[in-house]
Amino acid sequence: MLAAMVAGAATAVWPPLARANAGPFFAAARRNPDGRYSAAIFSTDGKDVTSVVLPGRGHDVAVCPVSRRCVAFARRPGNFAVVFSADRAEEPIVFTTPDDRHFYGHGVFSPDGRLLYTTENDFEAARGVIGVYDATARFGRIGEFASHGIGPHDLAFLSNPNVLVIANGGLREHPDIGRGRRVLNLDAIETSLVYVDVASGALLEKHVIPAGGSLSLRHLEVGSNDTVVLGAQIVKGVPDGKPLTEGLIYRHRRQQSLAATPLPSDASAALSGYVSSVAVDSEGAVAAATSSKGGAVVMLDVATGKVLRVATMADVSGIARHGHPGDFLLTSGTGAIADVVAAEGRITALGEAACNWDNHAVLLGV
């Protein structure tokens, strides 16, 4: 997603942000102290530029690379999305999936900003789809295509604006069962990474971690040379499941086979079987993965996979590229906002907001 943003930014004229706060600005979903949910654009000291109330708990925010409009998505099994922008030029737009679909919490704009692609569950048929919404017409849904797997979660564009990369989590879930979050195929989880041609929906490449495992590929970012960095989660309760610390970070380039990036034991222990979010830095050269369960951040070299640093921060989850190479912004469920630089591995507190920051954070612009 960020790679696409950077690609689009080169030619875009961005509207000024409507506040005097010093940038850079970020966007994220959160829970307010009164228990209600919202999404916000905020500065690193924790002050809001703008915020919008959400009908339920949100997850990720997609940013239009051209207009910088933001779309906050419901987390699974929610079905709403809310469009808002920093300059409040228009009323927020709320749109939903069809009744027989729900969001998985992620979406990405096409590099030209005209279309929005979202990961969705066709839950009666137990198959994943990518919903296509028209950003030029109040986000009307104009179609969908198969995600070529079950439970598509995160997605991003490669540098080629026709190729979408999708992580299919492989978990079968239904909104009527266990609040939409119980895994119904524990004995047959098949997670996959796919590349799809967005013009036709045709499958270009599919890499599968075979059924019978306990791994679920979830979040991804595209780094330099179109290297896709993936964060996985171990699904608990799988019969004869593997230990919880195996293969949590993957790096992949097209035409290559899919293999886990080996991690030293301190890094794999810090991730506690669970990667919450991944990001790549401004150069696409350093990747970082957070684990809210482990309260940790693992930073690694995108090209070699070498782990650079492991740092800890309570309930950390949101991570976004920050201004400089190797520099990341972190947000926590405690409300804390911090910065970490891979070269030093030192976490610096920047601010604290009176909220619980949700799973993801994204850089909006300077």
């Binding site: 228990g35 593997k242 919880l244 940790a296 309570a314 309930d315 926590s332 405690t334 799973n359």
Partner: protein, 371 residues
């Protein structure tokens, strides 16, 4: 986890550790004995709960066989008594959402609810009409839709037809066979779950020995987290779904059909749910663990910890009193059901606050319920 929100936030401490080598311990938190709680919950709640469920389902199988195969006198009445016992036994252990009950979709196969579109009743009716041979065999039935092989399906078969409606002998025999297959299917699942929790190399071993080579629990606190979540989400389900759903008081303001309402057993199940949550809390060791861990202000912690069990007892008493009402969600009893929500909510928020104060659980907003 919504109700935990303000409490967790209020108690949250900005704990950013520098250099990546340590995590700050939160002030006022005393070492919590996770190993003791996992052992106590196993001995005091989980194992006895599944033993009761296994015994009750076996007895139900026996009662249906006695009635259908041997035409023993008073057979129908005995089936109803046995069915009640299964409902009660299941209700008491229903909120264990970890371990053997989560594999092979057992939770849904035992109790598919809410069934918003009435799928179960439709599928049962179709199988009865078509005399589908698959539903007469427990093994084959176990591979069919989850909505037609558990308690709600059995309820439809036993209590679904209009009273006084005559059916042919052949149809009755088929109903009997279907009911028997469900009972055997339930008994098979109950036995497997009980066995997996009781054998030395079964799930209990994983439960009692967290570690890096353990596929289910790395840190000792993770079993405590599993218990805390089962308790919290159980209370949420009883209050916000089982009670509020049929009253139309859900967020969507859409009515959900009561669980086991066709047979007038909704309140039996709910009473068992509340009793089970109280057992998990008291006999399962949560109450004592919360008291023991709070050395700073033991008196206050003890009062609060005991308040949780008292509130559950109050709610449980009301639920038991409403068990004889056939349609509890209508008429004057509906008001009593609304009132029942208050002690449940108080129990939930009080327990959440205590857990946050004395445990080192990863109860954070993201860590406790990620995506």
């Amino acid at each position: 986890m919504r109700a935990w929100a303000p409490l967790i936030y209020a108690g949250a401490i900005l704990s950013i550790a520098l250099g990546g080598d340590s995590t700050l311990a939160a002030d006022g938190k005393t070492a919590f004995d996770h190993a003791r709680l996992s052992q106590q919950s196993l001995d005091g709640y989980i194992r006895p709960g599944y033993q009761r469920f296994a015994k009750a389902t076996k007895a139900l199988d026996g009662a249906i066989s006695a009635h259908c195969d041997r035409f023993e006198s008073g057979g129908r009445r005995k089936i109803e008594v046995a069915f009640d016992a299964v409902v009660t036994a299941w209700g008491r252990i229903e909120f264990v959402t970890f371990g053997p009950v989560t594999v092979e979709q057992r939770l849904e196969r035992i109790m598919f609810w809410p069934d918003r579109r009435g799928i179960g009743a439709r599928q049962v009716a179709t199988a009865l009409r078509d005399r589908s041979p698959d539903v007469l065999d427990a093994d084959r039935l176990s591979k069919k839709s989850v909505a037609m092989q558990g308690l709600p399906a059995l309820e439809t078969i036993l209590f679904g037809s209009a009273p006084g409606k005559k059916t042919s002998d052949e149809a009755s025999q088929f109903r009997c066979g279907f009911a028997k297959a469900i009972a055997v299917n339930l008994a098979n699942m109950a036995q497997s779950i009980e066995k997996d929790w009781s054998t030395p190399d079964g799930f209990a071993q994983s439960w009692l020995t967290p570690g890096h080579d353990n596929p289910n629990f790395i840190k000792p606190s993770e079993t405590t987290l599993a218990i805390a979540k089962a308790f919290d989400q159980g209370l949420e389900k009883v209050r916000d779904q089982r009670l509020a759903g049929p009253l139309g008081l859900t967020a969507q303001q859409r009515k959900i059909a009561p669980a086991l309402g066709k047979s007038g057993r909704s309140m039996r199940l709910i009473a068992a749910n509340i009793a089970g949550l109280r057992e998990l809390y008291v006999q399962g060791g949560m109450e004592q663990a919360l008291i023991d861990a709070n050395t700073d202000d033991r008196e206050n912690a003890t009062a609060l910890a005991k308040l949780v069990s008292k509130e559950l007892a109050t709610a449980g008493q009301t639920a038991v009193e409403l068990m004889s009402v056939k349609t509890p969600f209508q008429g004057p009893s509906a008001q009593r059901i609304i009132a029942l929500g208050f002690p449940l909510k108080n129990a939930r928020t009080t327990a959440a606050g205590l857990l946050d104060a004395v445990t080192d659980l990863p109860m954070g907003f993201n860590a406790s319920d990620g995506d």
